[in-house]
Amino acid sequence: MGVLEHKFQDNIVVEKLDKLLGWARSTSPWYFQFGLACCAIEMMATAASRHDLERIGMMPRSSPRQADIMIVAGTVTMKMALRVKKLYEQMADPKYVIAMGSCATSGGPYWQHGYHVLKGVDLVVPVDVYVPGCPPRPEALIEGLLKLQEKIQKQRPLTKIDS
């Protein structure tokens, strides 16, 4: 605080409530610890000390009830697809989904012959950000998360929509 310390009588911030909510939501999006394949290794590396997701306010939660973001990291099989959907439904609003890697985006290497692989997780849950790569590097995932933060900040949850 340095130069500003003890210089004011009362602390007042003037801001639109919509924008304040967006700011609050975007700066601490806890993500669901949910790895399916090799992408999960990169997700773990992103959360570990070198890339350190907690510096942008993100920490992994092991329960869907406590999470805001679901990072679908890896190959989603048909058997898992039903579970992914169920987990998504268990998350509390507002909730966001990141499809990480080519498997979660489109089926990836299993596009042609993988009879058992879901061709993109967007077939079962709505996806906000797609992160390409096989697997994407931690920088790419962080880029995706920053894009998601931008998206959250632009949302106006309280504004009346004219129909």
């Binding site: 058997k79 039903l82 009879y115 061709k119």
Partner: protein
Amino acid sequence: MIDDRDKLIAEAVEKGLQGDMDTINGIEDRVIRSKAKAALHKAKKVAKESGTGIEDSKEETASPVDENQSPNQIVFAYLEKKIPGSVIVQEGDLEECIYVNPSSWEAVSKLLRNDEILQFDSLQCITGIDIGEGILESRYNFHSMSLRHTIEIRIPVSIDNPKIYSIEQIWRIGDWFEREVYDMVGIIFEGHRNLKRMLLPDDWEGFPLRKDYETQQTYHGIAIPKVKEEWE
């Protein structure tokens, strides 16, 4: 007491050298029995090295350990001798595998596990294969930890009635192996106590590793596209 024991062992070894193993196996005390077996083994070795006298019993000549033949050839001959008609003679040599008749697999598998000179105590893998022309095959890799020999057994069955005796209760590891083969190829293992799908969901249709497999179009309302042009 000790004299008694030594005497008992000496007697048993004497009988054993004449080919009568029942005396040794009939000894009740476990320690004495194992000592007698060790003494018998030593006596046989001495007799062999000196080249005199006592011939090894027939079973001993069939032992895979001290022969130049491959384990497959020896076990093939042994099975043919013990259970006639259990093995299927195939073209070429026995370098790779032994084909076993599915109807006698129950007896053969128990023999492989329990026989004194086979002792296949480790089932390493079961592979299910659709080799085409209406034949499914279940392939078993056996290893003996105690005698250090390895064989491969193959059992062909018709695709119309793919039933094989389950060895799940003989080698416990066979439980999951057989479930996986059932999951992928659709061979039904008779007598398996929990024969359901291993990897795929329970309500999946068809067996994916069969040659004539057709992927289902939807799964719980999720499309599995077969023609993908319009998706791209």
